[in-house]
Structures are given as C-alpha cells and as structure tokens.
C-alpha cells in the first residue's frame, strides 16, 4: 500500500526564491526513504514540508490517501526526531515522552504503559526520572526517538539525527535505528548529508540537488547506474573519477592525448566516469593509461592513490585509485592502470544525463 505521496510538491518563498521547484515521490508502507544531498539542497525543507512546519507552496501531500497540505503538524499523525533532539529541558525523560500523549488527552494509565514499553525497547527504563541535561548525547538521541515512537505515528521523520554524535556512536545508532524501523515497520523519511548513512539505512534513496530530485532508487541502483554526474560523484566514497571528454569515432578522447576505444553512436562532449575501486593495476603493455602518483593514503585495509594521468604536457586529469590492502608506491613514480569497460559511466556533457 502506498503510504505517503508527494505530488509535484514545491516550495517558493515570498521573496520569489524557489527552494524546491517540484518533487514527485511515492513511499510504500514500511519503507525507509533517505533524502540525501549537500547542504542547501532543500532536503530539510522538504522534510519540514511533510512535517507541516513549512507550508507547501505548490502540489499536494497525501498520507494514506488523505490530503495533508492544510493540516497542523499534530494532526498529520507523524513524529519527528530533530537534529538537536529538542528535548524539553525542564521535563524528565518520562514527561518528555509522555507530553505528546497527554496533549492528546490519553488516559494516564495508558500513557504509563506506552512509555514504559518504549523505554524498555530503547533501554531507557533506568533513566525515566532524569532530566535531559543529565544524559549523554546518545541517551538524549534515544529519548528523542522514544518520544517519536510512543505516539505510534504513521510516519517517522528524522532530520539529521546523528550529526551531533561522535563517529563511533553514530555507527552504533545507525544500526539501531535501522533495526527499530524494521521491527516497528513504520514508514520513515530520513534526511542526511552523509552518504554512508544514506547508503546503509535506505530502502530507497532520493538524491536532491538544488531542490530537484536527481535520482530516486535503491542504494545499489544509484551506485551501479547513477543517472547524472552529480549522483555519481555524491554516492560512493571516495567519489567517482569524472573527467570531461570527447566521444569520437575512435573512442573517448581524454586530456588531449589519451584515447580509450569505444564504439558508441553518441558524438560530442561527454563526462567519462569510473569509480576509484574499479581501476586495476596492470603492466605497461596492457595498460589504458599511466598515472603519475602525487599522494598515497594508506588506511591499512585499503590504499588510496591520488595522481594525474600522465601526458606530454604534464597537466593531465586528476584520478583517485582505490586498492585493497597496503601498497606503498613512491610518490612521483608511474603506475599503469586499466579501466574495464564494464565499469565505465558515460554522461552527456550538455544534458547531464546518463548515456
């Protein structure tokens, strides 16, 4: 069953700025959707429009078939987890979680039952009488989630909930959020700028760029078949090598000198891309091109090699190679690489669309 539908939803501010021109998205029940994009791409605005904290300028938002544009946030049957948790500082953990239920006029014993259930699920039972300031960042995060969960909403909204946690806790909470969402089966809309978070959490990803949905799909779809150079660069770390090139009858001409043979009916300017992990080291005879190494980052499990394509003029395109295991090549030495055709990504330079 389709749970949430955004139909041509757009946001324009009174000063004429179109933050979001038009977004179409339909979310299935129980689906985990992640809105991802660089800061200022409109992902938070979109979430806040679903929450009812921003008005919807154009288009329609439907939750379970019901139009929501004019409804107050509290009437939309949604719950939101904020970036800074937004816990009420003067209330105990229990009161923080119970407040929304109290406002709905729920019976006291029912509230108590619900809160203690959720608290047990999140491991907060011991902390119910504490004030938010006596909690650690991770615990506050959990209370914020508990506050959302006690209301049994139709939709969860998360606004960069992990960005205030340290790296280790972030990974732990990420796993926890995913497990909880699976267990509860609640439709979830999650905003983040962190592509690792996005890839690991999402059933489907929405990559936003300047208020436009560049691509919507499963994480693997987006990784394997990015629709635009923007998505290609955004998904995956380190990001894909993208090089302006020319498609001619001989193949792809890169950096003036280098030509990679390819027969394709398209002609003219293209963007040629290959992920750092798909480049392979080879010997001089079979190599597609040589790389002049500029820097080596050894991370133990993998090694990132930064360099430039070796050309006669000396100003070749920068390339990153990702090799598994430790490697220690000399800086300024040459490295021979092949780029398997099956891993190429080609985009039209003009339309920015995948070829």
């Amino acid at each position: 069953m389709t749970d949430v539908i955004l139909e041509k939803v757009g946001k324009a501010y009174p000063n004429g700025y179109h933050a979001i021109p038009s977004v179409d998205l339909s979310i299935e029940e129980g689906e985990f959707i992640v809105l991802v994009g660089p800061s200022g791409c409109g992902k938070s605005t979109l979430l806040r429009m679903v929450a009812g904290l921003e008005s919807i300028s154009t288009g329609e938002l439907r939750i379970r078939g019901e139009r929501m544009n004019e409804k107050e946030p509290a009437e939309r049957d949604i719950a939101m987890v904020f970036q800074n948790y937004a816990l009420y500082p003067h209330m105990s953990v229990y009161d923080n979680m119970a407040y929304g239920l109290k406002n709905r006029g729920m019976a006291k014993n029912l509230i108590e039952e619900k809160v203690s259930d959720v608290a047990a699920m999140l491991g907060l039972t011991e902390l119910l009488q504490r004030k938010p300031r006596q909690l650690s960042g991770g615990q506050r995060q959990r209370v914020a989630m508990g506050r959302a969960m006690v209301r049994d909403p139709k939709v969860f909204l998360f606004d960069e909930p992990l960005s205030n946690l340290d790296a280790k806790l972030r990974v732990q909470m990420r796993v926890e959020i995913r497990q909880l969402q699976r267990k509860l089966g609640t439709t979830t809309l999650y905003v983040t700028h962190d592509q690792v978070e996005a890839m690991t959490l999402a059933d489907r990803l929405v990559v936003l760029n300047k208020g436009k949905a560049e691509q919507i799909g499963t994480p693997m779809d987006l990784y394997n078949k990015p629709a635009t150079p923007f998505v290609a660069a955004f998904i995956g770390s380190p990001s894909m090598n993208l090089i302006d090139a020319n498609l001619t009858e001989q193949g792809i001409k890169i950096s003036g000198a280098l030509t990679l043979p390819l027969s394709h009916q398209h002609r003219g300017g293209i963007v040629w891309g290959i992920r750092p992990e798909h480049l392979e080291v080879s010997d001089e005879q079979n190599a597609d091109f040589a790389l002049r190494i500029q820097a080596v980052e050894s991370l133990g499990a993998e090694t990132l090699i930064h360099g430039k394509i070796e050309t006669e003029s000396g100003n070749g395109e920068p390339i990153v190679v990702r090799l598994s295991g430790p490697h220690l090549p000399d800086v300024n030495s040459l490295m021979w690489l092949t780029a398997p055709v099956s891993h190429w990504h080609l985009f039209d330079a003009k339309t920015q669309q995948r070829l």
Partner: protein, 282 residues
C-alpha cells in the same frame, strides 16, 4: 598558580571590612536611635549604644500608631505597601510575559514597531508622565484605591525586553517539537515557556518588588485617605511635624521596619536571583 601574598590578603580584607562598615553604619545608628527615648536627641549628641526604650517604641510603632501625626500603625501601612508592591510586581511580570510572548512567537503586522514602541516607554517613567497619568487616574475615579496605586505602574519595558531576550534564546526546534506534540499556544506558554523562564521570573520578581515597595511619589500623589497610605511615603509625613519635637526614635523604628520586606525578599530569593541573571541552561 595559587597566590600567597599576606599583605594583599590583608589589604583586600581591610578594604572590604571598611566598605561593610560604611554601609552598615547608618543602619546601626538607626537601630540604636530607635532604642532611646525621643528626648535623647534634643541634647545634641548621638548615642552609639542601645538605650532601654527599645521594646516600648517598637511595640507602639508597629501595633498602635507610628506617631508624629501618623495615626495608623506600621503593620497596617506595611500591608498597604505589600499589596501595592505585589500588585505591581505580579502585574508587571504577567503583562511583560504576555507581550514578550506575542512579540517573539507570533507573526503579526508591525510586530517590530510594537516592540520598539514598548521599548520607548523606558524613556517615560512615572515621574515624567505624572501629571497626565494623575489626570487619567482621577478621571477614572481611581484615587484612593489599590487599583489606582498599582495599575499605572504595571506596564514595564524593562521586563518585556528581558523576557524577549530569554524567549529568543529558546531554540526553534523546541517550539517545533511542541507543535508536533500537539501543544497549542496556551499549552506551549504554560508547559514549556513558563517553566523555562522560571529563573528569569524570580530575578525580575526581586527587582520589581523592591521597585514597587520603594514607590514614593506616586502613592504620595494619589492617596489622601489614611486607609491607603503606604509605609515609605508615611516616613516623609512623619518628618513634617509642624509643632513640637520630632520623635526620631519612632521614625527610625519605622524606617527599619520599612527595610525589612525588601531585605527578606532579596535574601530569600538570592539563589534563584543569581541563577536567573547568570544561568543560560536551555
């Protein structure tokens, strides 16, 4: 580094003790004076140690009549002062809380203009607008009434400004979270805003109570009935005796009694007061 310079310690202690002595001396003199009979002052020297008429003077002043032409006892005038001071304090706090709430959390046309108009009333204390205010109060038939004593002093730009600053420091996400939790404007005000500005309210209470208690000119102007005389203005009346000696012992006792409530408020609310001025836990 821990400083260990005995001379510095000595000097700073000496300075502080001198300061305390300077501040406390007049209070001490008043206390001593109230324990001597009225005639002790005619001789020309000021006694420095307690006399033996203390209990009698204090008893008369507090329960019978303040003396020097003021026939009401001090406890009654204290009550009047208390009603006025508390009326002004609570009125000011309530009005400023509401106006700051409106200015910070609601979008209405000319919002900023409203704020600046309120702010400009800082330039118009009672003393400046006393004639027109008197006229208004007289026309409303509020002379010689508690309403007349308190109402014209209730509007407060300072308190509005303070609450505005306090509310502005409340993060927007908290407001939004409350909206998601289904809290309407009133619920938000009572459940979230009031508890969060608790310490600010306490700090303002102290300041405003002293302000209200010490009102002198306004009560002097609009009360002509003994039943509404406040303590602070009565002290002045006790001094303007035309015939006979001034009973300084009674005046001193009355003055000390007039000091007690503000002192009690400051001491009682000291902790909250400091917290309200310093704390920014939000």
């Amino acid at each position: 580094m821990i400083e260990n310079r005995p001379w510095l310690t000595f000097a700073s202690h000496a300075t502080l003790l001198t300061g305390i002595a300077l501040v406390a001396l007049p209070v001490w003199m008043a206390l001593v004076a109230s324990t001597h009979p009225a005639s002790a002052f005619g001789v020309g020297h000021i006694p420095l140690w307690f006399g033996d008429a203390g209990a009698e003077t204090w008893g008369t002043v507090l329960f019978e009549k303040a003396g020097n032409g003021v026939d009401t006892p001090v406890w009654f005038m204290m009550l009047n002062s208390l009603i006025m001071a508390l009326g002004i304090t609570f009125g000011k706090i309530a009005i400023s809380l509401l106006s700051a709430y409106a200015i910070v959390f609601f979008r209405f046309p000319f919002r900023n203009l409203c704020f600046w108009i309120i702010f400009m009333t800082l330039m118009l204390p009672v003393e400046v607008r006393i004639v027109p205010t008197y006229e208004v109060v007289a026309n409303l038939d509020l002379l010689n009434s508690y309403t007349g004593l308190t109402l014209p002093l209730i509007a407060s730009a300072t308190a509005t400004f303070l609450f505005r600053q306090c509310f502005l420091s409340i993060p927007g996400e908290l407001v939004e979270a409350a909206r998601m939790d289904g809290a309407g404007p009133w619920r938000f005000f009572f459940d979230i805003l009031l508890p969060l500005s608790r310490t600010n309210i306490a700090a303002l209470f102290v300041i405003l109570f002293i302000y209200g208690w010490n009102q002198y000119l306004w009560p002097l102007l609009i009360t002509t009935d003994d039943a509404y005389y406040t303590l602070v203005m009565s002290i002045k009346r006790m001094l303007s005796v035309t015939d006979g000696d001034i009973a300084w012992n009674q005046i001193m006792a009355t003055t000390l009694l007039a000091m007690l409530p503000p002192v009690a408020v400051v001491i009682g609310m000291q902790k909250l007061f400091v917290k309200g001025l310093v704390d920014s836990e939000k």
